[in-house]
Symmetry: C2
Subunit: 543 residues, 2 copies
């Protein structure tokens, strides 16, 4: 007996057409620093169809890579809609990367077209000129500073004005490439994760589930996550498929700008990083921010503390939940919604976990030999993933070995899983410190050190120790740049963490190096320590 169902490919063109026809009156707003300009889905779709027509005329065909270098703005959104639907591959470039790294990524992806914000492009002219595969650039905004550009370029509005909307999108195999994002690469060269039409469609459906983001046409999404970072949690696709209104912040991510956008648009949903929420809480303390329109806020990118969850709930009565995901997971993977039947304190505690797998994703815990580790909420193991929108590898076969023999993605993260399925990421595996055969999760220890009085930021890395193999080195910054009393910090940690976690190696720094996505760059710290650039003291001896 064979199934009698349609062989209908899952695709981005279906997402495009659904929002366009069923939610034609939904809106996208762009904040220019002062006010919000709105366009309907119908208007946005019409412009995206013009963009597709213009790109096709310029030579974009099946599998042609079209890169973007932009803030969250109208043109960027139109590229999200047009490029995959017409059969091209959207490559969103992280504008915070070093120009040489951007050049590397664009060459690796063989980008043929680039849609770029002129002001961002201006600093990249030599790199852009040297890219052999790059055929044409379409520039939004400011076009000054492009005089040295040796590649053909056109202004975005003129480029799409010459063309009527494309009527039909080509039939595309559902497993064909639709978009690519490069991982931020704290180790080694950046690696390209390439999404297919199928994975973007499935990820969008999964995101709309009531247990996930519950996106609907009653939502207004404040799109704070950058569209160049893991597809902004996939929200441009899932939110469009749901018919939600969007608010695009452009480059305006300061608390004062966020306050203005919230006042003007009454968003119901956002996803962001803890740093921005902390900024907003501080701004609120000085001058209250009206957050009553939000039904939920999702935070991720770095660990969300129970304290932050409690603050957001106390101050604004909004549930703050955590999401753990990565470029390799499209990125929706686990979310920390508490189950229905728990008390408020327990709910807060569970929201501070990394989260439970969303429907369609499986997470498992194994040891270094690949044997199962007990899912008791305590035992630490390697976190591995499986699911229809999880990567099995990288472009050009980079990162070999990331897939286990039995087909699971090894995340490189260490963590626990409890009996209810809640995952807790404790550390990057490579950041775990092995002290006398026991593991110290550096990220968790950092949280404790950073909470000590007189400490601003903290990083913990392992340093070689003649007796224990590795011991933790804590590197801290202070509010006024004055070196702290390390012995006192050590004492303050007593009782807070296991005795063997307490660092005896300490250093003070003026600043800590950050990666392009705002995480502490431990690779750079390790290099600085190895070359003697960062000096440290031994305060005591662990025994």
């Amino acid at each position: 007996m064979d199934a009698t169902m349609m062989h209908e490919p899952l695709g981005t063109a279906t997402i495009f057409a659904h929002g366009e026809h069923i939610h034609a009156a939904s809106r996208i707003g762009l904040f220019d620093g002062e006010q919000v300009t709105w366009r309907s889905y119908a208007e946005t779709a019409e412009r995206a169809r013009r963009l597709a027509a213009a790109l096709r005329a310029a030579g974009v065909g099946t599998n042609t890579r079209v890169a973007t270098l932009s803030w969250n703005d109208f043109a960027h959104f139109e590229a999200y809609l047009a490029v995959p639907a017409m059969g091209g591959v959207l490559h969103t470039l992280n504008l915070r990367l070093h120009p040489d790294q951007l050049r590397y990524i664009m060459a690796d992806a063989e980008d043929a077209f680039l849609i770029a914000d002129g002001s961002l492009l201006a600093g990249l002219v030599p790199q852009i000129n040297s890219l052999e595969t790059l055929a044409q650039i379409i520039v939004t905004g400011d076009t000054e500073g492009l005089s040295g550009l040796a590649k053909p370029w056109a202004a975005y509005e003129a480029f799409i004005a010459d063309h009527g909307p494309i009527a039909d999108f080509p039939d595309v195999d559902e497993t064909a490439a639709a978009a690519t994002c490069y991982t931020s690469g704290t180790t080694g060269d950046p690696k390209g994760v390439v999404y297919s039409h199928r994975t973007i469609f499935l990820h969008s459906l999964a995101s709309m589930a009531a247990n996930a983001f519950a996106l609907s046409d009653r939502d207004t999404i404040l799109l704070l996550p950058p569209m160049f970072h893991a597809n902004a949690w996939g929200l441009p696709y899932s939110g469009w498929l749901a018919g939600a209104d969007f608010v695009l912040p452009g480059p305006h991510l300061q608390p004062q700008s966020i306050r203005q956008m919230i006042r003007a648009t009454a968003p119901t949903f956002t996803a962001t990083v803890p740093t921005i929420l902390n900024d907003l809480l501080r701004a609120d303390a000085a001058d209250p921010v009206d957050m009553t329109s939000f039904r939920v806020i999702v935070a991720g990118g770095s660990a969300v503390s129970e304290g932050l969850i409690a603050d957001v709930e106390r101050r604004w009565a909004i549930p703050l939940i955590q999401g753990w995901g990565m470029t390799e997971t499209s990125p929706l993977c686990v979310l920390s919604h508490p189950p229905a039947d728990v008390a408020p304190e327990e709910a807060r505690h569970l929201r501070a976990k990394s989260g439970r797998p969303v429907a369609g994703v499986r997470v498992r815990l194994v040891d270094d030999q690949g044997k199962p580790v007990a899912e008791d909420g305590k035992s630490v193991g390697r976190l591995q993933l499986r699911g229809a929108w999880i990567a099995r590898g990288y472009h050009r076969g980079a990162g070999a070995g990331v897939l286990t023999d039995d087909g699971w993605l090894d995340t490189g993260d260490a963590g626990t899983i409890d009996a209810r399925g809640y995952v807790q990421v404790t550390d990057r595996l490579k950041d775990l410190i092995k002290s006398g055969g026991e593991w110290i999760p550096s990220a968790e220890l950092e949280n404790h050190v950073a909470s000590l009085p007189g400490v601003d930021l903290a990083a913990v890395i392992g340093v070689a120790d003649p007796r224990w193999e590795e011991r933790p080195l804590a590197i801290v910054t202070t509010p006024h740049g004055i070196p702290p009393d390390f012995a006192r910090l050590r004492s303050a940690l007593q009782g807070q963490v296991a005795r063997f976690w307490i660092p005896e190696y300490w250093a003070h720094a003026d600043t800590l190096p950050l990666t392009s996505v705002g995480k502490i760059d431990k690779q750079a710290l390790r290099a600085a320590v190895a070359t003697g650039k960062t000096a440290f003291e031994r305060i005591d001896e662990f025994s």
Copy 2:
């Protein structure tokens, strides 16, 4: 550039494992007519794994058909989970069908195993004995009345008690058959729609979307739709994937029983037919039913009137929305959620429409030549569907021609689509009455006739007319069985419907024949009229 994502098959085993592990504490309750017995998901999954082990030992392998003949109960739910996950094909039999029709369907599907409620099975013994492919029967409940059974059979609890839970489910291709439902067949023989693992998974994800059923682990689903009818709206799969609690009514679908279940379990969601809601409203008028726990009710199967929507909203403050779907659409297809920005009266009006396509389904309107018909909310055309969980045909190639040359499913329904994408089904195409070149939608006319004072039920069919080709014949039943004054009914219709819709042919009947799914059986009515069994009068002449 190739996509780098996992080739992870979409499947029912993933649904099974997600509910089992992530929502282990969610519950399923069975109402026995007096009280509700609860089992956790963990317990249910363990029983389903025992069932799978027992079925495998008995010979169920890949593609083996396992039929069910049951009310909504524990064993039926366990079969939903176990049979497709282990590679078999679940065939849910409509217990309201005539025994000979059931025999036809089981032979057509080549059912090898049958899980049946003993009391339902007792009336089918000769038919069951004559089925060559049927190897074994597993009986739940009452086993009296089975003495004539010539097939090997076992009692359900004994059958699964002998086996430990199966540990692993086999890898199954996502396009392989997972379940089959036969269409009720108001014309011709019943035809089998065969769902794949992929379509069940996609349909479940789509059902959980906030714009669809918004199912979550905060829900309690009162599972009123029979599990033998289009997979009970797919809810056993989507609700399990969402981790919702379920309440299974068994055979207890009378208003008094529904009242008891609601009181005992405080459901948040149900899907049902207008008849049951009307029953419940009547029961409520006599003795109030506490419906405050519901967040939404979905109705379908036959047209939901604006009056019923208003009554439910006025009486219980619950949004009642309409769903249009069919066995061929898994069945989720369109839902009448109003958009966010409409006033309450407009919202009620839109809820009475058939609905807007859910994300992943496309609906189009064409004329008999396949040319597009204007989507203006007025022009009537053929409704055709496309999507990843829509059928392209039937088992053994039955129903040839249901798929258009360009790959759309012709629903056999006539309707309109408006500018916002709302579909309104006006009639079955074959039930449209062609009067002098103009179409009269019989279903809509029936609603008007049934609302006339002194009329209970109404059916309208076309009868041959020498002048107009066809004219409507209204057949009505009355509360006390007394023939009504047809001329007065005719007058009462004036101003309510177009003049040419008003029937001049009328008949009175004691009852109207119904199909196995409770719809008026127009095929039987046409036969009764053709053979003179149903006599009718000509009251006037249309000119």
